[in-house]
Every structure is written in structure tokens, then in C-alpha cells.
Symmetry: C2
Subunit: 467 residues, 2 copies
């Protein structure tokens, strides 16, 4: 049963499992105690820290273990902001960071600080020079900048080394969230702080990493605690820490070969999906990307129905669509990229994924998408483009008020054939996803999006037929 959501949580690596079992027996005591069980635990902790620091590319005394990647991000950002209070209260983040970074930024704003979100291009990548511009245009002293190493939803690699240079020139520390990439290799460039999460690389849950380079000002905002250099309070989760370090070393050893293999499988998905499924947009940078992750969006498809049908066909994937039960708004990443969010599917292959499973997915997908489209009454692929020339009408209005994604786009696609070339159709919609998906549909279908304006109810989106 293929599990294709490694970017959410990877299955436990066999080395992590072995190390965890061994450390359950050897590493349950308090490493700060002087008796033999404590000394043994301390040796395990020290060895794990050395192994993890080597993989990160920092000194062991620069690295602490946290209870999760999220806590590493929260505590890392709060500590760096507090340590740099005198330098200023401004925080720079990219618009496509993980929610843990954006939530920490929101907490900083609620606390009186200010935040800039650096925009990305249509591939999800921050432009070179974008951090320098944000630093230049900051409303006050900049305390910290954050940039992910690679995007978790579309796989695009970020220009971390360039951003680090731009930050260094302005004497501002850069925190890199390396959660998605650390298992594949160290983070390039001269970063100041780095965070990661073990369960993303096949380590156990319950372990994050926070590295703070010597010389970076840092002040823990948590209550005092003597463990982990005072930067991460609480009894060390030692067996999991040992398993995290051992598995990081193991996945790195397999890394280059496995990355190459998975890159081939992802290439197959990237190439075949648009051939097999009509009206699909593959998103993210085609070259500068994570080896194991690919994301595409299917027009006229409800994300939740798609996930459900893929699950019935025994494929586990995730979605950044707004139409899933766990969220009501489209993914902030897809929104920042300005790409289609409806019918969104993220495939992230765990290590060891068989090529045959990818092939089975490619066989199953067209039927699953077609089934969902049919139930929603979506236009047939040919229909929208080659409808019979209709009687001209002065201006068509589609009332999609009260209808959830992807219905507004389906209704737009159904009437576009009735609009004379050069004519305009207006879609009235109050679902948040329409703001993203109607312009994205226009881009995909070669129509002209003319913008939105508030309507009596909802928002009016104007589309001009080009062909």
C-alpha cells in the first residue's frame, strides 16, 4: 500500500528503529546524574550530538535537541529575536515558510514586532536580491531573517546561500528551516541558525534540532533549565535522540544514490501526469527542487474527494487545496505562488519507494480524476475549448455564491464557450479559493483575467475570452 506523503512524516528508517530499541535499554536514565546509568546516558547523548552536528555542519556545542521541529522553530525564532532586541524589532520571512515559522512571526507581531513577507515567483522561489531588498526597505532595525532551505509543499529549493550573504552584509542573522532537506544533505551558505525535524528524514517523532552558531546573539525566552545548554527545557528524550542521530547518518550515507533514483521517479510523474490527465498544472521549480517531491493541481476537482478516492485506491498523498476537511483556505504556499489550488496533490516519495508503485499511481490517477470530475459535472476536456459558437450576449454573469471550490471554476469553464471572443464573463463567488483559482485557470486556459471587485455579495471576478 504505497505511502506517498514522506514530507508530512516519513516511515521510521530501520536504523532508527534499531537505535531506538538499543537506547531504550541503555538510555532511559538521567544523563545529568553521576552514577553509571547516568554516565551511560550522557555518553549516548554526547555521541548523538556529535553525529547530528557533523551532519548539520556545526560544532556539537552549537546544537541542541528540541522536542520537535516546530518547537525548534518557535524557540529558535523567539530566542534570536530576544537576543537581538537592541538591534530592532523587525522580522523578515518568505511568504512560503512552514506554518510554524509564520505562526512564530504572527506571535511576534501580536507582541508589537513588525514582519515583512518576501514574495516568491510562480515556481515558489524567492528571487535573488529579494532578501537584500527586504533588509533595505525594513521599517526599522531588523532582528532576524528566516528562509526555508526547500519548500515543503512544492519542493522548490530556495537560494539560501545568496540570502545568507545578503543578510551577512546587513549584519542580520539568518535562520534556515531545513526540515525538508536535511536528510538529503547539509545546508549551503553561511547561515546563523538552523532548525530541523527528525521524523521528516525517517527518524522518530519527538526530536527536533536547533543549531545556533557561536557569536549569534541568543536569549532563551523559556523559563530557566539546565538541560541542553538552557535552550530547550525538559528531560532529554534520549532514545529518540539516539535514533534521530543514527538515522540521519544512515540516510545521508544512502543519500546521493537514493536521491538520484527518486529524482527519476519524480521526473516520470512530472512528465506523465500532464499527458495522462487533462487540465493539470504541475507546480514548483522543474530543476531546483527536492528529489522526492512533486505537486500538481487538477482543474475542476475537489481536493478532499480526490484524496478520498486515491486513499480508496490505496495511495496516501496530501493536498494544499482548500477543499479538504482540515482547512478552509487554500495553502498559503500555492496562494503566494499564484498557482491553481483546486484538486491539488502533493506526492512525496519515501526512501525505498518502488518504481512499480509509481507506475500503479500513474495508472490509477486518470480514472480517479475523471471520476471526481464527472460527479461534479465538470466540463469535458474538449468541451470548454471547442464549444459551438454561441449567440453573443453583452455580458454573462455566473452566480456561484455559496458554492465551494472547485464549483466556481467548473461553472466558469462551462460558460466560457458561450462568451464571444473578446467578450467578458463575470463570476460571483464568496469562496476564498476562487481568488486564487480563477486567475490560475485563466493562465492555464489562455484566457485574460481582468481582476476582481467587491460585489453586493461576495466578489466579482472578470474574465475576458481570448480564443
Amino acid at each position: 500500500m504505497p505511502y506517498f506523503d514522506a514530507a508530512s512524516s516519513a516511515p521510521l528508517h530501520p536504523v532508527a528503529r534499531q537505535a531506538l530499541l538499543a537506547a531504550l535499554d541503555e538510555g532511559w536514565a538521567d544523563p545529568s546524574r553521576l552514577y553509571r546509568e547516568g554516565r551511560r546516558a550522557r555518553l549516548l547523548l554526547d555521541a548523538a550530538r556529535e553525529a547530528a552536528a557533523e551532519a548539520v555542519g556545526c560544532r556539537p556545542d552549537e546544537l541542541v535537541f528540541t522536542p520537535s521541529g516546530t518547537r525548534a522553530v518557535h524557540d529558535g525564532i523567539a530566542g534570536a529575536l530576544a537576543g537581538r532586541r537592541r538591534a530592532g524589532h523587525h522580522l523578515i520571512v518568505s511568504a512560503v515558510e512552514h506554518s510554524s515559522v509564520l505562526h512564530a512571526a504572527a506571535a511576534h507581531e501580536a507582541d508589537g514586532g513588525t514582519v515583512t513577507e518576501v514574495p516568491v515567483d510562480r515556481t515558489g522561489r524567492v528571487a535573488p536580491g529579494a532578501y537584500a531588498a527586504a533588509l533595505r526597505e525594513a521599517p526599522g532595525g531588523v532582528a532576524l531573517a528566516c528562509l526555508q532551505s526547500a519548500n515543503h509543499e512544492v519542493g522548490t529549493l530556495q537560494p539560501v546561500a545568496e540570502a545568507a550573504e545578503e543578510c551577512a552584509a546587513a549584519d542580520v542573522p539568518l535562520l534556515v528551516d531545513a526540515a525538508q532537506s536535511l536528510g538529503w544533505g547539509p545546508t549551503e551558505g553561511n547561515w546563523s541558525l538552523l532548525t530541523a525535524s527528525a521524523h521528516k528524514w525517517g527518524g522518530p517523532a519527538g526530536v527536533g534540532l536547533l543549531a545556533v552558531r557561536k557569536g549569534v546573539r541568543f536569549r532563551t525566552v523559556q523559563p530557566a533549565d539546565e538541560r541542553e545548554s538552557g535552550r530547550s527545557p525538559g528531560f532529554e528524550n534520549l532514545p529518540a535522540i539516539v535514533a534521530a542521530a543514527a538515522s540521519l547518518r544512515a540516510v545521508r550515507a544512502e543519500g546521493v544514490a537514493e536521491a538520484e533514483r527518486l529524482r527519476g521517479l519524480v521526473e516520470r510523474i512530472r512528465a506523465r501526469v500532464p499527458e495522462l490527465v487533462p487540465d493539470v498544472e504541475v507546480v514548483g521549480d522543474p530543476e531546483r527542487r527536492l528529489p522526492h517531491l512533486v505537486t500538481f493541481s487538477c482543474l475542476y476537482v475537489d481536493g478532499e474527494a480526490l484524496l478520498h478516492e486515491l486513499d480508496r485506491a490505496e495511495f496516501s498523498v496530501s493536498s494544499g487545496s482548500s477543499c479538504t476537511s482540515s482547512t478552509l483556505t487554500p495553502s498559503h504556499v500555492l496562494r503566494a505562488m499564484g498557482v491553481l489550488s483546486e484538486g491539488n496533490v502533493r506526492v512525496s516519495l519515501p526512501r525505498g519507494t518502488a518504481g512499480a508503485d509509481v507506475d500503479r499511481f500513474l495508472e490509477a490517477l486518470p480514472g480517479v480524476v475523471a471520476g471526481v470530475r464527472e460527479r461534479l459535472g465538470a466540463p469535458k476536456p474538449a468541451e470548454a475549448a471547442a464549444g459551438p459558437a454561441p449567440e453573443p450576449e453583452p455580458e454573462l454573469v455566473v452566480d456561484s455564491l455559496g458554492k465551494r471550490c472547485p464549483i466556481p471554476v467548473i461553472e466558469l469553464a462551462k460558460v466560457i464557450g458561450e462568451v464571444p471572443v473578446g467578450g467578458v464573463v463575470t463570476v460571483l463567488a464568496d469562496d476564498e479559493a476562487a481568488r486564487l483559482d480563477i486567475p490560475a485557470w485563466c493562465e492555464m486556459r489562455g484566457q485574460t483575467y481582468e481582476g476582481e471587485r467587491p460585489a453586493e455579495r461576495g466578489v466579482a471576478y472578470r474574465v475576458r475570452r481570448r480564443a
Copy 2:
């Protein structure tokens, strides 16, 4: 090799190990995902929450899992203080709370809040009515009160139910740190918040509990996160959570019988140690105490040397003495109780401890203590009391400046025989432990402690010979 430090961290319970292994296979996926691996993880998480809530005595939706007991305490106190900001900025704690509570209180003070520490008696117990008095005398509105269920260093049970009543009468929530007792039974009384730590009852590291009763005002101070009702950010440490809940249920099932058995072993230690080792003080409440924990202090003994020798004899215990490498001041608990801190030993028996191991400990202890005393040149048991009557001197001064615990007390004991009955000896010392240990020695040896005053260097402690 007997491990007698369960109060620091208990060895993993076999049920915890089994549950952890099963959950490693079944529970590694993200429980917020809709596919089958996610649904399976969600079922495990829900079942663990129900089992833990039942053991705590609360509703499942009142309980969240945190990454450690310390984080449960930090986040619980911060959340309750923030939720009650309008009621006031005062926090009440006992003087013998776990360091995580006292550190959270210190953070609250640093943040502009105020704190009362409620004193304890010589057994380490808060007096009935003490919380009512603290509430009455608070300098402003009280936001929160905290009281441990049982003390972690001396085992004394606290009057939680009475304190909860006193707090309820003042409409102030009471947070109970149940870390040491939850494995033995639910916490009595009408508490408002409760915290605990799984590795204290034989569960794995990496799991704490935070229960917040419905109706208690609570505002998370962490950045937003959708997991664990927004009260504990970060990916759930699911295998460990499953193991924590399963082992809590298991230790409770064995609880009554095992508590009775360990109580007998502890009783043996309490009775025999003062018979076997001269100049020992057993501390803590003799009746109202945890079943598995006993603490005593040995005059004229250096805590670190004692731990080291016990470790060489293959006994793992801990110490609240100042003379251990991990700390420079005596335990705040022993200080609040006003009892001897030097040569302090805490024995906390894990479940399943064999009576024969306790007997071996009782056999080894007298020789170990005598050996340490001999190397330190401590007075022989008879020596101090029955020294030859000396030439009277007007006032004797012992210069122990620059000497670490237990040397000042040893030097005092050596000269007391030279002091005429009714005469005074002054000890000059600059080691912090002397402030606690010289009065405690006087209490134990029937001498009169006359107080301290600042000296040119260090502090002058005056002792009058009574007999």
C-alpha cells in the same frame, strides 16, 4: 546492579516497551491526515488520550500531551497566568516545588509579576491553611496557585485537597504538579490544572501531561498550532504517547500491591539506617509520604564522595547535597525544611526492587559512610560528645574560609569538645551550605545555634555549647 533513583527517571516498564514497539509500526504517520495511515495514528492518539484522562480523572478533551513534564509545567503555568491576566499578576507556589515550577515563577517575576513562596515545616509539608493565608496576604489579585502532590526529594505528601478548597474559596485556580505521584494514584481534591511526566512512572521520555479543567481560563502563549487543542505545539510524539498511556494503566493496575511492598522496604531503610550509621538524620514526613522514596543526611560527609562510593559499590542514588558536581548550592527543598543537607542521600525504589537489594544496600552503607568520614578526618561518633574537658578559652574561632561542605561542620564538631559548657564557638565560613548545615548540626547534637552575622570575609556562625 540496583538502581535506586526512580524519582529521577524510572526504568522503562515492560508494557511501555511493548506498546512503543507496536506504535512504531502503526503510529508514525501524521494523525491529522485523512489517509489510512493518518486515521490509524488518530485512533491510537484518541485511545491514548482516553486512557490517560481516565487515570488522571478528567475528560479526554481536558488533557493534552506535551513533550515533557517540564514543558507541561512551563506551558501550564504560562497559559493559566495569561488566561487570568485580568484577575491579577500574583502567583503562589510552595517553597519545595520542583525546579520547573520555581523557574516558571522566576520567569513570571522577571516579566513583572509577583510571587509568594509558601513555607513548609521540618517534614517538608505545607501547613493546612497556608494557602488560605497566602491568598489573603497576596499583594494584589492572585492569578494562580501551584502545589505539588508529593515532594520529589523527601517524598512528603502535600495537602492538595485542602489547598484546592482554600483556592476555590478565593476563586483562584490550583495547578497540581503530580509528577511524583500520578503512577501511584489519581490526585485527590478539586484541582484546576494538573501536570505529570511519563518517565517518572516507567513510561518513555518525551511525554508530559497537561490537564486543564473546563471552565478554567487558559490562553496559550506559544505561537499558534492546530495540534493538541492548540496547547502544545509540534508533531505528536505518538509512539511514546501510546507507550505512556499503556504503562500508566499498567502501573496503576499493579499499584496498590506494589506500593505496599515498597513501603515495607522503605520502612526497613527508615528504621535501620539510623541504627547502622551514626549521626544520620532521616528527613521527610514519616507517615504521609510516597511509598517508594526515603531521604536521609549523614553528618560529616561530602555528598559527591558518598555518591561516588555508593556507585562503586553498585548502588545508584541521588543527593540534594551542595557538594555534588552538578550543583553549588544545597537543595532548595532541604533548605526550606531547615534540615541538614550534607551527606544527603535520596533512595527511590523502582517497581520490582528486590528486598535482597535493599538489604545489600543496608549492609554496604555503614562502611561507605565510615570510609568517607575517615578520609575527611571527621570526628569519631563518641569523640565530639565525650572529649576530655579542655582548658576554658574566652571564645573560640574556627576559620573554615575557603572550605567546602562538609568541612566547616567537621571542624566545628572537632572543637566543640574544647568549648566550655555555656561557652561559644564561632565558625567563619563562606560556603553556602554552612548556613543550612551548622544550624542543622546544632539541632541534631543538642547544641544551641545563636545565629549568623556578616564577617570581614564570609559569615560568622555562633554556636553555644549546651552539654
